[in-house]
Structures are given as structure tokens and as C-alpha cells.
Amino acid sequence: MTAYIPESQSETGVTEVKNTTCYMCACRCGIRVTLRDGEVRFIQGNPQHPLNKGVICAKGASGIMKQYSPARLTRPLLRKPGSERGDAEFEPISWDQAFNILEERLYRIRDTDPKQFALFTGRDQMQALTGMFAKQFGTPNYAAHGGFCSVNMAAGMIYTFGGSFWEFGGPDLERARLFIMIGTAEDHHSNPLKIAISQFKRDGGRFISINPVRTGYSAIADEWVPIKPGTDGALLLALINELIKQGLYDREFLIQYTNAAELVNLREGNEYGMFVRTEVPEEEGCFDPQNKLWWDRITNRAVLTHNKGADPRLMGEFELDADTPVKPAFQLLAERVKDYTPEWAAHVTGVPTETIRRIAHEMGVVARDQKIELPIPWTDVWDNEHETITGNPVAFHAMRGLAAHSNGFHSIRALSLLMTLLGTIDRPGGFRHKAPFPRPIPPCAKTGTGPESVRPNTPLGDLPLGWPAEPDDLFVDDDGEPVRIDKAFSWEYPLSVHGLMHNVITNAWRGDPYRIDTLMIFMANMAWNSTMNTERVREMLNDKNEDGEYKIPFIAVCDAFQSEMVAFADLVLPDTTYLERHDVMSMLDRPISEYDGPVDSVRIPVVPPTGECKPFQEVLIELGSRLKLPAFVSKDGSRKYRDYPDFIVNYETEPGSGIGFLAGWRGKGGEKFMRGEPNPNQWQMYEKNNCVYHYPLPKSYQYMRNWNKGYLEWAQRHRLIRFAEPINVHLYSEVLQQFRLAAQGKTEYRQPPERLRKRIATYFDPLPFYFDPLESQQTDKDKYPLKAITQRPMAMYHSWDSQNAWLRQIHAHNYLYMSPEVGTKGGFDDGDWVWVESMWGRVRCMCRFSEAVEPGTVWTWNAIGKASGAWNLEAAANESCKGFLLNHLISEELPPGTDGDHLSNSDPVTGQAAWYDVHVRVYKAEAGAQKTHPQFKTVHPLPGMKATPKSWLAFFAGRRR
């Protein structure tokens, strides 16, 4: 080249530009894809997209290397007869053969015992379809990955204020003045959070990060508060203690919008700890009837809540009558946190007392003195008219660092209460909901309640996942034992609203609660980074009965790439990439809504499928049609939907409901939204509009949505909710108290099995409390003095990107990071090979010293280590030789104890996998170590996979100039 040609002629070849939605992580940014001669040349953020506003991340900008990765599966594969699972010996078959195999097998299962089919998926942003397939099939054994991801966050917050972080709500950093981020991975919520944090900092906001490790977002925090893993609950309860002690809480908010002032019955008996009610409501439904009492300080007597002119007490002890002592819920909270002093918490968390106190004061004073007032009139559900929307500008964000502990549910309840005390729920500068949230507490959806809910050739009458409101909602048999394979919604984990995918393989292998026939896994690496106890789980997947039959007889895996799990499949279904398929980010699922109103979006293929790849959605529709599941066939039994796009346009939740997967451009001509007849041109309308539909609510409906009459009636009219009733914050949780009463034998509700009574009575506390995580309670901490956690790198999404030639150059292998003190004590140096050992096993890896880590914590990047040969990497690749997984050190079950021999290593309330509870020790490895341990037999490329370029790669899109 002699000179640069500064004009568009520099781009030779035929270029086209198409919009779709990214899927390099779960964030779902709008992308604009430039193709040259049909090859992907450039992927940029779509400037017109409300989520990412034109920006893109490292992963999104590396989509080209995912699309053309040699790890792509391109043909359906069947395990070779006589080969072992894990050997990855396959022969290619046709799709028709693959469908025949599945149809024959699934037909037989559905005709006899539908729960023998288990469908578990790594992704939960298409569970409207996968969940519907399971329901139609009639199996309760379905869930997405939420149970091992962050269900504590969803459950802890939704059971408290009817919304949650990430897809359903988040911090309003545009208006906040103080932002506290606790235990957040860099991918929830990726680009929007980066955009918001940087703008917040530029606007002069103060950013405090509480995290054992200072990476990513924490790096740019104004203050980093290192904390010991798993102790967040102690810190949060101490902050509440100090706020109450100083009177730094929003009294008016607590009274009007929460159950803080409602009177709790303290008379011994079956109503103990329940709110006193004046009358039984005329209509029962999933809402809180307004029939509770306040103690009015003016008339000094009990009055109905929200009684005009009343001014209730938040504190004190009263008597309704001679036998009925009562206290406001807030009084019980004040009593609860009385001993959770900053001094106490300093000891538990490692955060100095003065820091705890100062942060509490910063929160309380900013919330109180920097009040926001927006000139937006609105009316609350009690018909009070307000001239303004007000807000207290203290915002929080938290994710897995809080959630992935067995005490996470109560930590997150404590965080939710802290946010409530500061008066920041759905107000400017605080937490804001995203449609279709807020939901009632708990949401209406319920599962079946007993074995009779599962019947041959019959769809489930209820949903496979739901939100128990009381013990009678549990999915258990007459003995109180689980109906589901993962034991979700049983007395072991009653509020496991996202299931327990992390226990499915172990339970099915052991046959406890029963054996299954077919396990179908979509996009989840259950033989590697998505499972705990990886080495043993791989053995279970390959384990056989004495008769030679596999303990899990049939495993089907759908994935776009040669993940470690693929090697363990009997049948492999090659999925498309995100650039090759239609997809919906649906209001029935987890849409991409903004604070100002509902938003949903789509993917539209920008390139044709590679090889014989078929989107999993098409697989489900084909199977649904072949099996004649009612939703997929017409009355005469003929196939109802041509393909997935046709299904998306024409499916209605029931005939004539007008509710479908996409909310935008409904009605025959696209003139309606949320609800309306199918529109044959719906896809085209999304395509013309950047693949996104956004309905900004009127300003007066954008805040205080739990109690906003206008919003609730709008939401009801558009069928987002059934009841336009207030959603008061459950500062005090009656739902939890009902389970406790049952466990104490005080109610006529269903009773837990004897072995679990104590566990339920302990952990179903209506107010948050702090306890040492379950595994910690059973660990010899003198032997294992350190805690081990993982962090999520920004340039890698789980295990997805090691096959990406560009991204793997950023993280080819991982180290174990630790304070230099650990090395000094153990007699090893920065960069040395070390063993990291828990009570479950040990891993050899390389260490790196870091000052940016709490000294009692060691950490590594998640899912960088790979099994040899997987993802079509060479046997010498860093990922398998120098990279490692921490998962080998973490058990999916707790040590046997009084509550049971095989309890999940999970939160006892929600079944959230307790990834970060493990304790370890670190010591120098033997001289000469050169590889991480454990190592696994190298798997070879599968039929249909591209050969990897051995020496070098020079990607240049399209025809060469």
C-alpha cells in the first residue's frame, strides 16, 4: 500500500448492514453488523438502541471469532456404540434420525411417566418457550440456570418489594448521589451499568464498592471496602442498626408503603407472628388485602392501616386486648438488629467499625438531605394526590457476591430492608423497577402441589416453576417428600423459585428421589464449569448399573460449541449462533425493559446457519409438533406452526388472549401493543425499528409503581397484572413466618418431615438474621483458614469464549490471586505452583500475589480453565495446561448432618448454589510442577468441526482486495 485511501472506496466488496441483538453475554445489547461479501466484517453497538446506545464490549466486538470458531458443532451426532460417555466418539446422523430418536423416546416417556424426562437449560432468557414446552409435555422437571446463578437475589428482593436487580430493576444512577455496589460480577448488567457508572462519576456522584476483591467496576470506586466473603449480611444488618439508632430512616415511606407499622400478633398460638387482621377479604387472590392494623399515636388505639388522619407508631408494644400483645413490625426489626452493632459486624466482616458507621451516616444523610423532587403529579392507590414525585438519591447494586452463599437469601433480605429504610424503592435516585415488574409478593405463578399434578399424556395444570406463598403451595407428596428431581419446592428448599439445576445429575444418578430416563441439556456446561464437584459429576454421567445400563439412561445435549458437556451426550444437537437465528427477549420472560417502560426485542438472522445447525427453538417446535403437544398442534392433530418465527407471531397464551411472546406491533396492522391479535408483519416491524419495541410510560406512571394507581390500572388494562392492588414492601415476611409456624407444628398447614422441622424453623425467620454459611459451620477453619471465590472477567462470559481467538489472548489461563501474606506464611513466591485444597479435594495451579484482595480470601477468574481438547483447543493450549477450575474444590452437597445425608450445598430457603462458601488452604506444590491438576483425557475434534489453523490466522472479512 502506498497511501491510505480516506474514502469509503477503501471498503471493497459488497457490504450490507443489518441490525440484531448481541448474545456474547446475557446483556442483550443492540448490534449493527456489517457484512462484506456475506462475511461478518464489523459488529458495532447500535446507536439507536435504548440499552447500549451505540457502545459495545470486548465480547460483543469479538463476535466474528465466535461465528467462525473451529469449536462450532455443525452436524447432529450420535455416540458411537460401545464408546464411553466422555470419550467424545460420535458419528454424524441426519436431523431426521435425531428427531426420530427423540420422538420415539419422549413419546414413550410421556405416555407412561412424564417426569422421567428432565429438561434443564443454561439460559433463562428463553424460558417462556422452554418452560412452556416442559409444561405441555407434562414434566415438572424443568428449570433454567437461576438456581446456580443468582436466585437469592431474585427471591430475596421479590419476596420483599416485588422486584429485583438486573432484568427486573436496578439503580437509578442518573439521579443518585451515592452508589453502593456489593459483590457484583461484571456481567450483570454489563454495558448499561458501565454507561451509567461512568456518567454517575462524571456528574460528581460518590461510588463505594464493597467486595473482597478490587477488580473491574470496583477499580474506579471512590472507596473500596474489602469484606470477608459471606459476611455481607452482617454488614448490612449493622448498617440497619446504625440507621435506626440515629433515626436516619424515611419514616413516612415506611408507614405509607411498607408493612413496618402493621401490628404483629404476639399471642402464643397458630397466629403467632402473623399480622392482626380485621376481617377476611371478600376475594382471595395473590395480593395483600388491606385488612391490617396500625397503632395510632394520636388516638392511642389500633386503627385500620392507611386510615386518613392516623399517624401510626413504628415502635412500641401494645395490647389489642388482654390476651393479645402486639408490636409494629418495625419494632421487631429494631429488636432484631439491636445486637448487630457496628462493633459486632467489624469482627465478623473485617470492615472497621468506624467505616461501617460512616457509611451508614453517608447513606442516611444523603437520603434525607439531598431529596429529589420531580414536578410530576401522581395518585396513590389510596386516592391521595401528590403534586410531586420525591426520591432519596442513594442507589445500590448487588448480584452474585451476595447471592451465592447459603446465607444469601437473608443477606439480600437485609439489603432490601436497608433500601426500604432509606426510602428508595421505585423512586428517583434509588431502585427503579422495569416492566413487567413490580409483581405481587409473592408473584401469582404456582407449581403443582403433589404427585397427582403429573399425569401421562397431559400438560401440567400449573407451571413447572412458581412462587410459593405458603406451605400448601409446596410441590411434595403426602410424606412431604419432593416431586421434582431437583427437590425444588420441597421442604429442603421451599422457595427454590428457579429450581436446583446443580443437583439434577447427582440426584438422578443416585435415584433420589427417583430415577429418570432422559436428561436434555441446552447450553449448560454441566460436565465442567457449570457444575460443582466437577470430577465426580463427570463420573456420575458415565456411571452404569450392574446390568450395564447407564444410571442416567439417555442424555441429549444442544449446544453451538464443543463444550465439555458435549462429550457426555448420547445425542448432540448443533445449535446456531446468535447471528444465525430468530430470538425474542419477551415480556413473558426477561425482557430488556427500561426504567421508563416496557421494552422487548428480537434477534433476526444476519448470516445463514452454518452446516446443519438448527436453532434450539426450532428443535422444540418440531418436537412439540411430532409429540402432538396441545399448544403445538391444531385440533385435528396437524402441525400448527411452520417454524419458530411463525410460532412467535401466531401463538397466543390462550385463544384470543391477545398476549403473545412479543408485545410490540400487535393487532392486525401493528397498531396495538402488549395485547392484540397476531400481526403477520410483526417481525418486519421489529426489523425496521432496530429490532426493539419500547413503550415509554407517561411520566406519572414511571415511579412508585407498587402503589401508583395510574400505573397499576394501566398494567391491569394491558394484562401485566391481574389485581390493581398495592404491593406493600414486606419488611416483615409473613410468608416466611407461615413456614416457621408449620415447622413448629402450630398450624394445620402441611408439615415438614421431622428431620427438617428444626431447619425450617431456623431459616424461615420473618426478619433477616446473620448466620455462618452452612458449609462454614461444618468446616475445620483451623485447617482451612481461607475462603475461595471466583470473579467474572469482563472479556469472557463463563466458558463461552475460550474458543474465541481474540478473547482467549486476553485470558488464556488463570492464576490463583492472594495476598502476599499467604505466600509468606506458606513459604512460596509470586508465580509459584501451589496446591489449593478444600475438604472436598485439591487443585494445583499457579499463584499471583495481589494487594487488591482481602487477606483471608483467594480468588481466580471463573471458567477460564478447560478440559484438554474441549472447545477444539489444542492439547497444549493454556486453558487446559495452566488454567484451572475452582469447581473441583466445591461440593454440590453438604457433609451429612442431622438434617439429612444429601442436602444440597445451597441456601436452605431458596436452593441457591453456595459457590462462595468453600474454605481452603494453600501450600507450595512439589518442585517441577508444570501443569495444573486435575487433568482429563484429551478429547478430539468431532465430526463436522472445522480443523483449527495450526500456526496462524489472518482474518480479513470478504473477498481480498
Binding site: G45, P47, A58, V365, W952
Partner: protein
């Protein structure tokens, strides 16, 4: 005279590497491409990147900062890589100050990379030429692109808008204002290379809470206490003196 440059705000850079890979994807198929990758699926993969992020720690626990530091060619106003080039391949454009390499003249001798004190030149061992950041010269003048997108790929990509692009010789340009008002600095000024790219330092926001802010007349705790009612039973001055 125009001097185009990047100004990188370390106060908001979270080290996400969006600039790194968006640069790679634009430029590998652009006029400066390809950008090769050695052992892309094997041991110690390494490739040509015009822009890299270095991460380092400052201070000791717990008073420790983690700094993410993106680095690419700084387009020096007095670039040491230019005079050392024996073939004239390495040159600085008079019209906009961008430092470029003419691949047709480059013999891959690496003198320029030895001369560069910042380590931002990348030898391509396959094409045997030296490669480097062009400030996406094939984007910034491309009139087929909307004006808002005539920026380097890294600038468009950056989720925290930590990368500003413009003419640092124009006192009214965003980049100049940022350098002037927000403490922008150049790397290793003692070398006299006058880097055009600048960095903005970390800034801290603190809140000072005065003790008396905790005590207020409208403290809600006051609502929970009983008001004194009726006469006091104990002795008062009323009982003991008549003045």
C-alpha cells in the same frame, strides 16, 4: 495545524477491553489489516493488537488502587520512530498529525519499535511489516459513514466514554478542554516526544458528614417517644423557693 489524538479518562476506565477487540475487529479487515494471530487455538496464543490494556496495582492493602491503563500509539508530535526509519516508511502526516507506516516501504527492520519508548508498535512476522494504531484513518474521513461514526472504533465502542477523540490543537475541542480542565497529562514527557494522546487522572468524590447533621429536629425517633404529660411528681424549684 491539526493534531488528532485520544484522551483517555482513567477515572472511568473499568478495563473491559472493549477498545482492544473493537480495534482488532475493525482493523483486521481494514486498510491496515490483516492483524494476524499466532497459535490462535494453541499454546500461548499471541497476535497483533494496536491497542492493549495493562492492569496494575498501586499501594498496599487496604489502601490499594487497581488501575486499568489502555495504551496505543500516542501519535507523538515529535515521534522518535520517524527519523530512525531507514526507508521513510514511518511518517507523520502533516495534515492531521497521525503517525503511520507505509507497508510498501517498510522492511520490518524494527528500528522504530526500538526507538519508541512506549512499546506500542507491533511487528507482523507474517507480512513482515510494522503495524500500529492509525486512529482508524479509514473511518474518520469516510464520508459514507454518518458523521457521528467518523471516529476510531475504540472510541465508538467504549462503554464508559473513557476515550475522547479530537484535535488537541483546537482549544475549543472536547479533548483540549478535558486536558486543560481535568488535569490531562502526557506519558513520560521527559523524553521530549510530546505525545499527542493524553490521560486524565483518577478523581475522588468524598462526602463529609458533620456530627450535627445526625441530630435534627425532625428526627423520626422523636415521634416514637411519649411526650411528658401532667405535672411532675418530684420536687421542683416551685416547691423550694419564693424568690
Amino acid at each position: 495545524m491539526t493534531q488528532l489524538a485520544l484522551v483517555i479518562d482513567l477515572n472511568v476506565c473499568v478495563g473491559c477491553h472493549a477498545c482492544v477487540t473493537s480495534c482488532k475487529e475493525w482493523n483486521t479487515s481494514g486498510v491496515a489489516g490483516y492483524l494476524s494471530d499466532d497459535r490462535p487455538y494453541g499454546e500461548d496464543p499471541t497476535g497483533t493488537f494496536f491497542n492493549r490494556v495493562q492492569t496494575f496495582e498501586v499501594g498496599e492493602y487496604p489502601h490499594c488502587e487497581t488501575v486499568h491503563f489502555p495504551k496505543s500509539c500516542l501519535h507523538c508530535e515529535d515521534p522518535p520512530c520517524v527519523p530512525v526509519c531507514p526507508t521513510g516508511a514511518s511518517y507523520k502526516r502533516p495534515e492531521d498529525g497521525i503517525v503511520l507506516v507505509d507497508y510498501d516501504k517498510c522492511i520490518g527492520c524494527k528500528y522504530c519499535s526500538w526507538a519508541c519508548p512506549y512499546g506500542v508498535r507491533e511487528i507482523d512476522t507474517h507480512q513482515k511489516v510494522m503495524k500500529k494504531c492509525t486512529l482508524c484513518i479509514d473511518r474518520i474521513y469516510d464520508e459514507a459513514l454518518p458523521e457521528s461514526e467518523r471516529k476510531p472504533a475504540c472510541v465508538l465502542a467504549c462503554p464508559t466514554s473513557a476515550r475522547l477523540f479530537g484535535d488537541i490543537h483546537d482549544p475549543d475541542a472536547d479533548v483540549s478542554v478535558a486536558i486543560r480542565e481535568e488535569g490531562g497529562y502526557a506519558l513520560m514527557p521527559e523524553w521530549g516526544t510530546k505525545p499527542a494522546n493524553h490521560y486524565l487522572p483518577r478523581r475522588k468524590t468524598r462526602i463529609r458528614i458533620h456530627e450535627d447533621e445526625l441530630v435534627r429536629a425532625d428526627n423520626p425517633l422523636k415521634k416514637e417517644h411519649e411526650r411528658p404529660v401532667g405535672p411532675v411528681r418530684e420536687q421542683t424549684l416551685d416547691d423550694v423557693t419564693s424568690w
